[in-house]
């Protein structure tokens, strides 16, 4: 018998192998697992459910859902139309203004482009914008500039800055350094390096993010209207206050339709710019 090169070698090592666990100490591993489980059980146990109220609300919920079967677009059409126009206007303007402001902040918040002091200031702006939820910001702006779409516009623009600047900065930090180095080596200035070395690498993502934010801003405009920041949210709030669930259903269906159109449109555009 001649040994062929593909023949299995004689087994002389261990035949058992297990992947090393994430937490090496078995006791610690089990303690953490059981602790988390116990916390979950206790947490669920501490929720007090008012079954009487839930049964009562069940009926109201059903009436709301029944509204979807027969949505009423007609009787409040004037209000709905005005609300939607307001929402779309403030969505678009807030996104454009937000993007314009967030691009320089995003560049400043990228560690590989900005000097440390600039970086820290821009990161702080991003952190403030992101830590304040839209509703809270909307309440603040309503208090400052009064009810209406201006408060909504300011809220959405503010929220856009935190979102877009952070994600843009992260994308800039991930770019291929060699391309930037090549542009610098040719004697390019800082602005030229940005324009030739960085922008082509992040542009598709920036466009994608801006479109995605447009989407989010429209949905948010429906929510912040409830606290008085104008738009279709105010119309929705009024309908709910009047128990006009058929009109509310019509508004919600329109919001869903617009979000879907925006979703398909933005994914198509993103494919084109890749």
């Amino acid at each position: 018998m001649t040994p062929s090169p593909g023949a299995p070698a004689v087994v002389d090592g261990p035949t058992r192998w297990r992947r090393p666990p994430l937490i090496a100490d078995a006791r610690l591993r089990w303690a953490l697992l059981l602790g988390a489980l116990a916390y979950l059980v206790i947490g669920i146990g501490s929720l007090t459910v008012n079954w009487g109220r839930a049964a009562e609300g069940w009926e109201r919920g059903l009436r709301f859902l029944a509204g979807f079967v027969q949505p009423d677009f007609v009787s409040r059409w004037g209000d709905i139309q005005q609300g939607l126009t307001e929402s779309l206007t403030m969505t678009l303007t807030a996104t454009v203004v937000g993007v314009l402001i967030s691009v320089p902040i995003g560049i400043g918040a990228a560690r590989n482009l900005a000097p440390l002091p600039v970086y820290l200031v821009c990161r702080a702006i991003v952190a403030v914008s992101r830590s304040l939820q839209e509703i809270i910001v909307a309440i603040l702006f309503v208090a400052m500039v009064g009810f209406g779409p201006l408060a909504g516009f300011l809220t959405l623009a503010f929220a856009t800055i935190g979102f877009l600047a952070k994600l843009l900065a992260e994308d800039i930090e991930d770019i291929d350094k060699a391309q930037v180095e090549a542009i610098r080596a040719a004697g390019a200035s800082w602005l030229q390096t940005l324009n030739y070395g960085v922008q082509p690498q992040v542009m598709p993502r920036l466009i994608g993010l801006a479109l995605y934010r447009l989407d989010i801003n429209f949905r948010e405009s429906a929510v912040i209207g409830i606290v008085g920041a104008g738009g279709v949210g105010s119309t929705l709030n009024t309908a709910l206050d009047r128990y006009e669930y058929d009109a509310a259903a019509a508004i919600l269906l329109l919001i869903i339709a617009i979000v879907m159109v925006a979703e398909y449109a933005s994914s198509w555009i993103r494919r084109q710019v890749q």
Partner: protein, 284 residues
Amino acid sequence: MRPTVSATTAVKLRVEGLAKRYATGDRALTDVSLALPAGQVLGLIGPSGAGKSTLIRCINRLVEPTAGRVLLGETAVTDLGRSGLRRARRRMGMIFQEYALVERLTVMENVLSGRLGYVPFWRSWLRRFPPADIARAFRLLDRVGLREQADKRADALSGGQRQRVGIARALAQEPEILLVDEPTASLDPKTSRQIMRLLREVCAERGLAAIVNIHDVALARQFMMRIVGLRDGRIVYDGAPEGLSPEVLTAIYGEEDWSAAGEAGAGRDAGPDVPDDDQLAAAL
């Protein structure tokens, strides 16, 4: 023949006592001195981590040297401020490993980006380069055989084509020297030789001096006029390619059987080309 720096040949680039120590404490370069006469194509060889890339990046200060001087002609590159450095970088064309083209820009934009040091921001931003720059870019694309590809995006080209664009971009600067960092590291052996030949040709046509980082000893022997061997950030060999004896190679790379490493000067490789890791990676 041993290339020497005679009084009649102008020295294009002089490196004196260059040292680089990274913040981590690693010494990348220690007391490196060399003079590059006009028209000379110098191959820088050495093991990975010997400081080849650091050395050429210290010359155009993409990496700041810790000590020593770099003189480009009469200009002390190491003493320059920001705008002076920009003007000095225009005079040094750089060609990169993995090409370093801006992938999403067109071939033409990549070649024109070699002119960025010469044009104001608004012109480059609007892509309104002076007519002379555009004419030069087309001539260069003709020279490297890529005129038809001018409007294609760089990421649509093959590896060899991309490196040709890289060469055209460097030449668009109208440089006095070329700094070339592992130009063939991700190319197959045949394309590697074509690129090396093209580099030698354009250097000869324009009287350009060049420093070429190269890790393939056979390629270095075949295409370089002078060899500098780096080991642990120090020059351990400086001389003709013919002088790369097994003893010298051992001094540069460490103990190894060098009998199959290719004979000098014959213009052919002894034995089959053993692909290195990069070539294998490129082939997979």
